[in-house]
Amino acid sequence: MLSIRNLKASINGKPILKGINLEVKAGEVHAIMGPNGSGKSTLASVLAGREIFEVTGGEVILEGKNLLEMSPEDRARLGVFLGFQYPIEIPGVSMVNFMKTAVNEIRKYRGLPLLSSSDFLKMMREKKEMVEIDSQLTNRSVNEGFSGGEKKKNEIFQMAMLEPKLAILDETDSGLDIDALRIVANGVNKLKRPDNATIVITHYQRLLDYIVPDVIHVLYNGQIVKTAGKELALELEEKGYDWIKKEYAV
């Protein structure tokens, strides 16, 4: 479904990603772990099309389409969803208006009829229940005045609304207490389908108690240095990242 080959990217001339290779099949959950500064968030941003990063080599193919040639909005319409590490507050843009615009732009791109207001509101209600988000949150401006936990839950709610093919969750667990973590993880698990895939980027093993990955990758110094099954997470939790750093020191 997703195929990343020798992806290289830099910011202000400084290379961050130094040849990433990754294959994700439909129905799979992949976790990407690694120490701070290894390039995890950069990878997420580059996949989503953030323009401050310059792609200097490689390719990213999602269901036969080259993502790197597409605008961020076209990638989103194709089915790429980025759960932001720091969701942006946008005062003055209501959640309802934001989501309605997004859902209908995506439907338009996919050749589906636009949702009427009543159908849209019904869909919102269902998805809110599904991901256990406080219904008051959607009456406010996008993320404005939300707590850290509310912002992350709101990301999962948006994911539920947009039904992506490929969801990339960038440190969605950071700053969450255990209850919020459980709600976020449950949301992700409920949204899992045989025809979609999820990449979970995390620093800690904790999230992986709730979202069980099929494959774990360790990103270090801009490259994937280790790929294994879910047991790798426990090993990392126990031993930290130092042994990886030693093993792959440049």
């Binding site: 961020p72 319409r77 946008i90 843009v93 934001f98 996008v142 947009l162």
Partner: protein, 454 residues
């Protein structure tokens, strides 16, 4: 023709026009108005239109704005169209849609209404005939900044305008709307004078909508005087929606007495050259003033908002928020001055100006000024100009929203906190819709206009 000659011609033309037509002008208004007319004209003749050497008019060339083949109507001219036919306002809950056409009230039977509660609403000329003692007590008394020559010019030529008188203790629930319409087959200069008097413990909302029905150039030099009596509550909304060939100059003078509350919101949707002056004097304790403005400009439009809030008594509060969205090669200007007298202890005064520049060619100038002579006050002012937030843009686009639509949503969001200061819900909804259309570059007509003027 050189600029200098042009400019002296503009002043000469105004002076000549006044002299030539003085008998017609004077015969329609009583002596007490004509005395002020004379005094203002004599003063205007000495000083002329504001020049760019005048610090408060530094960035707006008023003299050039007056240069045009403007005609003036010294008495109401017959209308060729039925105005109620071609222009109706759809906003529910607004009271009786008064209409000033080219500066005149036309409605024969309804020129001036006296409501059962004693409130008087309608034509200023009519009010000078039926209630001369009330008009005389207030007319021209609230021109706080005496040296503004645009208001002198207005006082020289002004005849009709909106008159609102709310007696002591009277609350008018539904907002009063004045549609200030320019309908002409030639270039017109129109100078109405509005007088809004709210006596002690009264409450009223006034909505003034400036519109034009055809694409001819016009110049509107409007003066509005407002007196907010003790404990009164006033809402004043003005919506300016004309076209690229319009010059819209407004002077609003507000005098506030003890514990009065005035909320004013100016929304400039469309104008060629716009200059809005707002002068507020908080003359007695515990008065509260809120003044807001939003302007949207594109092409080569020029929109200038100037405020002066004078804290002349202790324990008063003022709050200002002015925002501009500037596209293409347009120019926006905000200049705001807060003056706190030595006596005005415990003053609370805030002022904020924010501008959004959509292109590299759009310009904005911002001049916030605080002048404080008291030592126990809480005042602040700030100004920020920038472009759309990149992070917010990316966030919206990552959800599938196009760049254009994301831009649009963020511009609307920027405008939102000024629009939200309109407390009349149907009006707020209407304005939101108009701003939305305007930002999309669509024609933001707010009426069912049957005149096909392009």
């Amino acid at each position: 023709m050189s600029e200098v000659i042009k400019k002296s011609l503009v002043n000469d033309e105004l002076v000549d026009a006044f002299r030539k037509n003085s008998s017609v002008i004077f015969e329609q208004t009583p002596d007490f108005i004509n005395k002020l007319r004379d005094a203002n004209f004599n003063e205007f003749e000495k000083v002329g239109l504001p020049t760019k050497k005048n610090e408060t008019y530094k960035y707006t060339d008023i003299e050039s704005a007056f240069f045009g083949a403007y005609k003036r109507q010294y008495s109401p001219q017959p209308l060729t169209i039925d105005i109620r036919e071609v222009f109706t306002c759809d906003v529910p809950e607004l009271e009786n849609h008064l209409m000033l056409v080219n500066g005149w009230f036309y409605d024969k039977e309804n020129k001036l209404k006296v409501l059962p509660n004693g409130a008087i609403i309608g034509s200023l000329i009519e009010a000078t005939k039926k209630f001369p003692e009330i008009v005389e007590k207030h007319y021209g008394k609230y021109i706080i900044e005496q040296n503004d020559s645009l208001s002198m010019l207005n006082m020289s030529f002004a005849q009709d305008g909106l008159f609102v008188y709310v007696p002591k203790g009277v609350v008018i629930e539904k907002p009063i709307q004045l549609i200030n319409l320019i309908v002409a087959t030639e270039e017109l200069m129109v100078q109405p004078h509005n007088l809004i008097i709210a006596e002690e413990d009264s409450s009223v909302s006034v909505v003034i909508c400036d519109h034009s029905l055809n694409p001819h150039a016009f110049l509107l030099n409007s003066t509005t005087e407002v007196m907010a009596g003790k404990n009164s509550k006033l809402e004043i909304y003005r919506q300016q929606n004309a076209h690229d060939h319009s010059v819209q100059l407004t002077n609003t003078f507000i005098l506030q007495k003890e514990s009065s509350y005035v909320n004013s919101v100016y929304i400039t949707l469309h104008g060629g050259t716009v200059r809005n002056n707002l002068y507020v004097k908080l003359s007695e304790t515990h008065a509260q003033n809120k003044s807001y403005g939003l302007w949207l400009a594109d092409k080569n439009q020029h929109i200038d908002n100037n405020t002066f809030i004078h804290h002349a008594a202790p324990n008063c509060e003022s709050n200002q928020l002015y925002k501009g969205i500037l596209d293409n090669a347009s120019t926006g200007i905000f200049s705001g001055r807060i003056l706190v007298d030595r006596l005005a202890q415990k003053t609370i005064a805030f002022q904020s100006n924010k501008n959004l520049l959509m292109t590299n060619d759009a310009k904005t100038r911002s001049k916030p000024q605080l002048e404080i002579y008291a030592d126990d006050v809480k005042c602040s002012h700030g100004s920020a100009t920038g472009q759309l937030d990149e992070d917010a843009m990316f966030y919206l686009r990552q959800r599938g929203i196009s760049k254009k639509e994301a831009c649009h949503l963020l511009m609307l969001a920027f405008a939102d906190d000024v629009i939200n200061k309109i407390s009349v819900a149907p009006l707020r909804d209407e304005i939101t819709g108009l701003v939305e259309k305007r930002l999309r570059g669509e024609l933001s007509r707010c009426n069912r206009c049957k005149v096909n003027c392009g």
